[in-house]
């Protein structure tokens, strides 16, 4: 007696089962296939061939091809990355100026202290404006006067 497992089928239990299965598979056992060997040959001929293992020279050739392909890909990729990185970026002067409390470029491409800076008060701004105005006046004054020499004939004539 087996306590831990199914009991084996006795012979009188097994024989009718064998007979029933034999009888049930009987019609199926009588079935025959209608395919011929020619269909197998056609299937072999028209199917894709299995990949054959590479020989020494073919393996070397394949490795060379892959190396060249990888090199060209790396070259193209590196060129693309370098061209992206070489685009000049415009420095944010105003932000740097404000944070540093220094000078900045204004719309006329002239240096100017940032008005919004906490280090700049109205007197400083007024001083800058006055300095600019004085510079402009000085340029007007310093402009050379046109002189007329007597040696030049007909110069005074209308």
């Amino acid at each position: 007696m087996r306590l831990f497992g199914p009991a084996p089928l006795s012979l009188d239990q097994r024989l009718p089962l064998d007979a029933a299965l034999d009888d049930a598979f009987g019609p199926l056992r009588a079935r025959t296939a209608t395919v011929g060997a020619a269909r197998v040959r056609a299937a072999v001929r028209w199917s894709s061939p299995e990949p054959v293992p590479l020989g020494g020279l073919a393996l070397l050739t394949r490795i060379s091809e892959l190396t060249i392909a990888a090199a060209i890909s790396a070259f193209v990729f590196a060129g693309a990355v370098t061209s992206v990185e070489s685009v000049p970026t415009v420095p944010d002067i105003s932000r740097d100026a404000v944070t540093a409390g220094g000078w900045m470029l204004n719309g006329r491409n002239a240096f100017q202290r940032p008005i919004s800076s906490q280090f700049v008060d109205y007197r400083t701004t007024a001083g800058d404006l006055a300095a600019n105005a004085a510079t402009a006046r000085r340029r007007e004054v310093a402009a050379p006067a046109q002189t007329v020499r007597d040696s030049e004939p007909f110069v005074a004539r209308p």
Binding site: L9, Q13, P16, L17, D23, G26, P27, R29, V40
Partner: protein
Amino acid sequence: MTRVPRKSDGAAAEPRGDRELVYAARGGEALAFDNLFYRYRDGIYRLGLAITKDPSAAEEIVVDTFARAHRALERLEPDDTLRPWLYRVAVNLSYNRRPRKGVTFSSLDDGTGDLAAEGESPSEAAERAERRRVVLECVDALGPKHKIVVVLHYLNGLNLAEIAEIIEVPVGTVKSRLHYALRTLRVQLSAHPGLDFEPLEVFGATELQMHKQAR
């Protein structure tokens, strides 16, 4: 437990064995490969038909199995037996083409078995056909691991060692699966009143004996 292989599995007139035929086929002899094909064609067809229940799929399985064998001729070990190798390929192909749930093909029985045999009345023939149908339904209800063992053993006539080689498990596992399948079939068939199988009480003798011993 060992069953005699069916004669329909073998070619009729070819005296050479599988090993000689494989060697000859390797050498380019087309007739040798044809002989191998006709030797195992019907067995593989029946196996595919039992699993897929589709005659056209079973024929495709036959073609695919031998196409693979043709491509693998150089790699095949002629000293090994060819039959388990072919059946292993066929089993794998068959399970890849199993009918999906909800798809029903015609019965495994093509109707020729329903005809009354000599000395058999029509009612007896109908009873026999019904008994076959019930048994095959019970076989279909088994899990794939158990069903393949039953099909290979009772339909293809393979012994336990060959089945173990085909499904790549130890012989003890095959024996256990066959035993479990037969027990399950016995339980299911005994539930049908028209079949002459013992009721469950007799089948569950182990449990009764355990109860007696516990008392």
